[in-house]
């Protein structure tokens, strides 16, 4: 179309100005991409760490278990649950856990365990953070009556790998006591190193008199599919006496924290857009004003006002699109690079370990940019550009040829 050609040529004629403007908007866009990627990346990390310890992407447990973690509130027939679900989709892992409390004693003292877990050794190993964080000893094997304890607990009890400890806890019907051997010592960070301990599921079931029952089934899957998965599981298990929870329901504190972060991110994007808009409006306005004479001539030659309007708008739109392309060209590699390398959060906090809900965030943050976010941002920038150009275009439309020609 003629309009397109004219628009392009106008931009091209003033390469310099176009270039600078593209650089300005494009860089802004790139920075925005990076910022969004960083935020999303840190969120992913937090979610990942949090759900792997206490929940799953989707968890199945007794209906009141979320409110009160009592041993009696159990899933009596986990095999029925699994049967109902059928073969697991690709990429899924399911683990089974029992949560309870107990007292761990050694010759030197005792430690209250507020988070004693009996876990499916094979599957838990695949998803849990603990195997990576074992500092001495190793993961549990199904043979030995082994227990994994935290570093702080080991210190308080003055025990190490291979030493014996006595675990006392309340089973379903009676109190029980059993001797365990410290199979490994972990360092997760925070209070978990004192109050959290793990034993094998089978042994836990026998010890606590649970029979075949467990406290929770935790499903892990690619994170984007979690919502659908929750719905699907809910439907399949509708008639069983269990509750299906998405991690957002299972970890309300985390969800809240992320929500706040998202909100503040949106506020700042808004501010940034304001600045970008001002810049664009300024640019287009300037460009219109510079070309008053030219536009006046065009009008006097018969070009309709609406065409002039469309011309300016087209120029601006092209500018926006090009800026997005330029920005993406710069921003995407940047995000990609850091996504590969990761950013050390300790560099940001100046060497301190950040902790939340007993979980320490020591892993590197990998910026993540979803197609959705990227496209949304691009769209916003373009829309912004277009909107900012409206007034200048409007002004351009109303140039009176006579006045224009009189200008220098």
């Amino acid at each position: 179309m003629l309009l397109l050609k004219m628009a392009f040529r106008n931009l091209w004629r003033r390469r310099f100005r176009t270039g600078i403007t593209l650089f300005a908007i494009g860089s802004s866009f790139a920075l925005l991409l990076f910022f969004v990627g960083l935020t999303e990346g840190s969120h992913e990390l937090m979610i990942d760490l949090a759900i792997r310890m206490q929940a799953g992407h989707v968890i199945v447990q007794a209906p009141e278990f979320q409110k009160e973690r009592a041993l009696e509130l159990r899933v009596t027939h986990p095999e029925k649950v699994l049967e109902r679900i059928g073969p697991l989709p690709e990429g899924w892992v399911v683990t089974q856990r029992i949560f309870t409390t107990g007292l761990l004693r050694s010759a030197d003292g005792s430690v209250m365990l507020d988070n004693l877990m009996a876990v499916d050794l094979e599957n838990e190993k695949k998803i849990s953070d603990v195997p990576r964080k074992i500092v001495r000893g190793a993961w549990l094997t199904s043979g030995e009556p082994g227990i994994l304890i935290g570093e702080k607990a080991a210190r308080l009890l003055k025990v190490d790998v291979g030493d014996k400890v006595v675990l006392s806890c309340s089973g379903l019907s009676q109190k029980v006591e059993e001797r365990f051997v410290v199979a490994g010592v972990f360092r997760i960070g925070g209070d978990s190193d004192r109050g959290t301990a793990m034993i094998g599921l089978a042994r836990g079931q026998v010890l606590l008199g649970m029979g075949g029952a467990i406290s929770q089934l935790a499903f892990f899957m690619p994170s984007e599919t979690s919502r659908d998965a929750a719905r699907m599981l809910s439907a399949k298990l509708a008639d069983l006496p269990v509750a299906v929870l998405h991690w957002e329901e299972a970890l309300p504190v985390l969800t809240q924290l992320l929500w706040v972060d998202d909100v503040s991110m949106q506020v700042f994007i808004f501010i940034i857009l304001g600045i970008v808009a001002a810049g664009i409006m300024n640019t287009v306005l300037m460009s219109v004003m510079e070309r008053t004479r030219e536009l006046g001539i065009l009008k006097s030659l018969g070009m309709r006002p609406s065409s002039i309007f469309r011309l300016i708008m087209t120029e601006s739109t092209m500018l926006g699109l090009l800026a997005v392309v330029v920005g993406a060209a710069v921003g995407l590699p940047l995000v990609y690079y850091f996504a590969r390398v990761g950013i050390d959060p300790m560099a940001l906090t100046g060497g301190e370990v950040m902790e939340m809900e007993g979980i320490a965030f020591t892993d590197r943050i990998h910026p993540v940019l979803r197609w959705g976010s990227g496209l949304t941002l691009s769209g916003i920038i373009i829309v912004m550009t277009v909107l900012s150009a409206l007034w200048p275009a409007f002004r351009a439309m109303r140039i009176l040829p006579v006045k224009a020609l009189r200008q220098m």
Binding site: L31, V260, I275, A278, N282
Partner: protein, 600 residues
Amino acid sequence: MYNFLLLWKMAWRNLWRQRRRSLITVFAMSAGLALCIPTYGLMEGVSREMIRGITRSHLGHVQVHHPDYLEERRLELSFPEKEASLAVLADPAVIQAAPRVYTGGMVSSEHEFEVHVGTIGTHGGGLQSLVSGSLPLKKCTALVDERTAKRWRLDLGSILRFSPLPAEPACERVEISGVVRSDPAGASSLLMRPADIADLNAPPKAKSAAQTDPDDIDSLEKLAPAAPSADATPMLAPASDAAPDAAPAVDAAPAAPPPAAPSPSPATPADNPTTVVFRVVRTASSQVGIIAVDPSRESQVTTMVDKVVAGTYLNNTYRNGQGVPQILIGDQLARILMVKPGDRLGLDILTREGFPMDEMVEVAGMFNSGLDSMDRSLTFVHLRMAWDPELMNLVDPKTGAPQIHELAIRIKDSLDNVVVAERLQKRLKGLHLVAWPWQKVEPAMASMVKLQDASTAILLLIIFAIAALGTMNTMLMSVFERIREFGVLKSVGMRPFFVARLIMLETLLMTLVSMVVGGVLGLGISSYLYVYGLDMSSLLPEGFSYQGVVIDPVWRTVISVRSFAIPLALMSLVSLIVAVWPAVRAARIKPVEALRQTGV
């Protein structure tokens, strides 16, 4: 001199001549500035608010302890209050220091009410009325009706105690095994086994004549050897395990084999349609952490007073008019204990020697800190309770000097706290105490703040970068557009350096104007946000809290010199730097080239 004036006049006239262009340029720069200033203020505000939340809610800016206290948290690691407070308050930066004693204990509430005790047969609906749980098959278990269960927060496994305790071997306590539908008439029902009810209703046995006082050890009679009496055999019987939580030692008594009892035979319990009214006691108790504080000093250091949602904060006097000490509990705890301000609680507090002492306390008020675990398990009492010889008795065994575990200090300028902590440390050296800034006491919080600050810094950087880019864009364009103009000037003899200076001056003038306009606008927005704040509460769920730090959903800016100086300085710097390139270009342009340009 003349040159300078000429320069000035020319610069102004240039700008004025191209009003529109200048205005647009100024507009762009001002807008950028007007947005950056409040953003910086907002960020600073949120950060300050976070720190304020952390320090004013409980921590204080600096804390003083025995060197090992925070690690071990043992009662004995205390220090003399008077000397430490004097040393600390002598420092001019200190506003107030709040003394604290930490210990643990238990609070319990007792609620007495009436129930109509009967069998499942007497209850309307009979077996069908069972809503949850199971029938009371074991000794000393019972069913309770829904309404009563709800009212007194009874659930499966809850225990009710009869009041007064039955004299004869009968269930002293019952465990709730199930819940039944309520009697529409509204009576509170407790349904037990016929045998248990018979025991409760049994008239007291005639006391054997010479009832020995068991306290007098010497007067106790010897057991007959191989006694068939009740004492020996039943105690060995493992049958006692049948009712794990049932009334103690009832099983040892010969209540079951009826012959000894003179009471009417329980042969026809099912026929008994009437119910008997008994009084029962529901005890709700909770293990709590106890913090003993000096209310007047504490309220000058922390904002706990503001968090009181019912009743009042602690009184300045230890005991009230009736001689009862006060306690401040969390609203969640109040709910669990089913109490409200004015109610009495039993407090068991761990003393210096390690055993528990008890005292009745009155609930002064309830607080909501925003953190569930705090609202459920933390209580506050008057500092004097810690020094009460009848209770905690936390005084130096040798000197009798009252001891505390912690001094929480509030200082004038919160940002100074690390420096002040060092100073206080020196003052306290003689007492062998440590003074730590809150960042050292709660490194997790400190790192959270640092992370927040870091991400804010990145954000601000991005914003400034974008604003600077916009400015740069504008400035460059406004100069480059007029290259031709400058070429003309040069062709009529203007010296290159003059041209450069002209451009720089124009830039400077526009920058100055933008600074004023942008500054004023920025101030306006900042002020507005300072007074009204950015209300995020519609987007955030009610009040957000992290680790007990409540973050105000209304974001306010901080009007500080920094929030102005930095954006202004940065912007000006950027625009001036950006002007250099075109200035140099213009200075070096050959007039011929310039004239050849066909305008913009």
